[in-house]
C-alpha cells in the first residue's frame, strides 16, 4: 500500500531546474534511500514533500492520515530553549496533548541518547547532539512518514552507527525516506533506492534489482604468485582477467559457477591462497550509473 505517490514533480527557479519530472512511490513501512551527488536535487525534493516548497508542476499525493516528521540536513534550533522544551513544543504543534507531549519528549530524548541533557540549553550542544535532537524533534509526535535529509553525514563513525541503529528500529512502524551520500550505510537500510543526478531520477528499484542490473560480480582466485595465476588461465578456456597474482572470473551465464571453480581447484591442486565471490558495492554501482547517464 502506498503512503506517498509522487508524479512528475518539477521545481524550477527561473530557467534553472532543481528537480525535473520526478516520479516514485513510497510503500508503507519501507525505507527508501535518495542517493545523489551534491546539487542532485535531493534537498529540494524532500522540501517539496515536507510542504516547505511548492512544486512548479507535478503532484504529490499522500495518504489521508499522514503525520510527517522532517529532519533538515543542518537543523537549526532556538539556542535559548532546553532540549525538552523544544521537543515538547514540536510535539504540541504537531497536535500531541499537553501532558502526553511532555512524556513523549522525555521518552524520545532518552531514545536518541540525550537523557543526560534534557534540561540543558540547546546553545551548549555539540554538532552530534544537535543531530540527535534533530531526529528527536522529527519523531517526537510518532509520525508515520519520516523525511530525513542527510541524517548521518555530519556524524562521526560511532554516531553514524548509533543513528542508523535508531532508524532501523523505527522502520517497523514508520515509512522512511532519507537522502544520503554515505552509500555503505544506505546499503544497510533500504527497500528502495532512488538515484538522482542533475534533478532527475536516473535509476530506481530495490537493492537486489539495481545490483542485478548494474553489478558485475566475479570470482576472485588468489594464487601464491603471478606465474601460478598465468598457468591456471592458460589451462582453461574461461573468459578471465589476471591482475598480479589474482585471477578474476566474471559471473555470467556462459562462465563457470563458484561450485565448478572450487571443484577444479581442489582436483587440480592449484597453488592458491584463497577464493572469494566479489560483488560490486552500492558505491561502485552508483558511480557507474552516474557516469553512464
Amino acid at each position: 500500500m502506498n503512503i506517498v505517490e509522487v508524479e512528475n514533480l518539477t521545481k524550477r527557479y527561473g530557467a534553472e531546474s532543481a528537480v525535473e519530472d520526478l516520479s516514485f512511490v513510497l510503500e508503507k513501512g519501507t525505507a527508501t534511500a535518495l542517493i545523489g551527488p551534491n546539487g542532485a536535487g535531493k534537498t529540494t525534493s524532500l522540501s517539496m514533500l515536507a510542504n516547505l516548497l511548492s512544486p512548479t508542476s507535478g503532484k504529490i499525493t499522500m495518504e489521508k492520515d499522514v503525520s510527517l516528521g522532517f529532519l533538515p540536513q543542518y537543523p537549526q534550533f532556538f539556542p535559548w530553549l532546553t532540549a525538552v522544551e523544544f521537543t515538547e513544543l514540536a510535539a504540541k504543534i504537531s497536535g500531541v496533548e499537553t501532558k502526553q507531549a511532555r512524556l513523549q519528549s522525555i521518552q524520545t530524548l532518552e531514545f536518541v541518547g540525550l537523557e543526560s541533557s534534557l534540561h540543558k540549553k540547546i546553545g551548549s550542544f555539540s554538532g552530534g547532539m544537535k543531530q540527535r535532537l534533530g531526529l528527536a524533534q522529527a519523531i517526537v509526535h510518532r509520525p508515520n512518514l519520516l523525511l530525513l535529509d542527510e541524517p548521518i553525514s555530519a556524524l562521526d563513525p560511532t554516531g553514524r552507527r548509533e543513528i542508523m541503529n535508531l532508524l532501523k528500529s523505527l522502520q517497523q512502524d514508520t515509512t522512511i525516506l532519507y537522502s544520503t551520500h554515505i552509500l555503505n550505510d544506505a546499503e544497510e537500510m533500504t527497500d528502495q533506492l532512488l538515484f538522482m543526478k542533475d534533478g532527475r531520477l536516473i535509476e530506481q528499484g530495490s537493492l537486489k534489482e539495481v545490483k542485478k542490473k548494474h553489478a558485475n560480480p566475479y570470482i576472485q582466485i588468489k594464487f601464491r604468485n603471478h606465474t601460478s595465476a598465468l598457468e591456471f588461465v592458460g589451462s582453461h578456456t574461461w573468459k578471465c582477467e589476471v591482475e598480479e597474482n589474482l585471477v578474476l572470473i566474471p559471473v555470467s551465464n556462459s562462465g563457470p559457477t563458484m561450485q565448478q571453480v572450487l571443484h577444479i581447484l581442489s582436483t587440480e591442486k592449484q597453488d592458491i591462497i584463497g577464493v572469494e565471490f566479489q560483488d560490486a558495492s552500492l558505491e561502485e554501482i552508483f558511480l557507474k550509473v552516474v557516469a553512464a547517464k
Binding site: 530553549l81 504543534i93 524533534q137 535529509d149
Partner: protein
C-alpha cells in the same frame, strides 16, 4: 487558540532568555528620566563643562511639567521607536534566515497564531517599557517641575499605547515580508517616516490620521483632544492593525518556502 498560547509561551521564554524583557524597559526608563533631569540640571551641566564665555547671558525658561512630558514623548517617538524596531526586526525574518523556523513550518502550524503570538509578546514588552519609562519620567517631572494630574497622564498614555500597538503590527508585517532583519528594519523605518510625513503634509485636513495619535495623546495634558478626531484616528488604527494581522499571517505563510533548509 491552543497553538497561540503555546507559541506565546515560546515567545515569552525567548524574550526572557535573551534579556529583552530587561534591557528594553531599562532603555525606556532611562529615556524617561533623562529628559527632566538634564533640563533641571542644565545650568550645572553647562557650568561643569566650562561655563559660558564671560559676559554671555543664557536665559533658559523653566519648562512647564506638560512641556516636559511632551519632550519625553518626543524622545520615545525617535529613539524609543528606533530601539523597538531594532529589537524586533528579526522576529520573523530572522527566524527564517537562520533556519530556526524550519522545524516549526514543517508542522501543522497556524500562521495566524504564529504571527499573533509574536505581535502579542513584542507589544506587551513595548507597552510595559513605554509605561515604565513614562511613569519614571513623570515622577522626575513631578519632583523637578511640578504636578500634572495623574488622570491626564493616564489618558495620554492610554492613547499613546494604541500608537505603539500599531507600530508593532507594522514592524511585524515588515519582518514577515522581508528576506532578512535589515530589510525589515528599513521597511519599518521608511513606513514610519512616511506616516509622519503624510500626517505633516495632509494632517490638517485628515483628522483621522493614525499618525496624529501621539499628538492627540499630548493634547490630554492641556485639556482634551478633539473627540471625533481622536476616536476616528483610533478607529482607523485598530482597523489597520487588524488588516496588518491578516497581511502578516498571509506573508509569513507565503514566505515559508524562503526558510533555510
Amino acid at each position: 487558540m491552543k497553538q497561540f498560547f503555546m507559541l506565546l509561551k515560546k515567545e515569552q521564554l525567548e524574550n526572557i532568555r535573551n534579556y529583552k524583557i530587561y534591557w528594553i524597559p531599562a532603555i525606556f526608563i532611562l529615556l524617561g528620566i533623562l529628559e527632566p533631569t538634564t533640563n533641571y540640571f542644565l545650568p550645572q551641566i553647562i557650568e561643569s563643562s566650562g561655563g559660558l564665555p564671560e559676559g554671555a547671558v543664557l536665559e533658559i525658561p523653566t519648562p512647564t511639567p506638560e512641556q516636559m512630558l511632551a519632550a519625553i514623548v518626543e524622545q520615545f517617538q525617535t529613539i524609543g521607536i528606533a530601539v523597538l524596531i531594532l529589537a524586533y526586526m528579526g522576529t520573523i525574518a530572522g527566524e527564517r534566515k537562520s533556519g530556526t523556523a524550519t522545524l516549526l513550518y514543517v508542522r501543522p502550524l497556524s500562521f495566524r497564531a504564529y504571527f499573533l503570538s509574536k505581535w502579542t509578546m513584542a507589544s506587551v514588552i513595548s507597552l510595559v517599557s513605554v509605561w515604565l519609562g513614562f511613569l519614571a519620567g513623570y515622577y522626575y517631572t513631578y519632583l523637578f517641575f511640578g504636578e500634572v494630574e495623574l488622570i491626564k497622564v493616564l489618558q495620554m498614555m492610554g492613547t499613546y499605547s494604541v500608537w505603539v500597538l500599531f507600530i508593532m503590527a507594522l514592524l511585524l508585517v515588515a519582518s514577515a515580508i522581508s528576506p532578512n532583519s535589515g530589510f525589515a528594519a528599513a521597511i519599518a523605518f521608511s513606513t514610519y517616516l512616511l506616516i509622519q510625513l503624510t500626517d505633516g503634509l495632509f494632517g490638517l485636513n485628515w483628522t483621522f490620521s493614525p499618525g496624529k495619535i501621539p499628538q492627540y495623546g499630548l493634547e490630554w495634558l492641556i485639556g482634551a483632544p478633539d473627540s471625533s478626531g481622536l476616536w476616528g484616528a483610533i478607529g482607523i488604527a485598530v482597523l489597520l492593525i487588524l488588516l496588518l494581522f491578516a497581511i502578516g499571517s498571509w506573508a509569513a505563510q507565503r514566505n515559508k518556502a524562503k526558510t533555510k533548509v
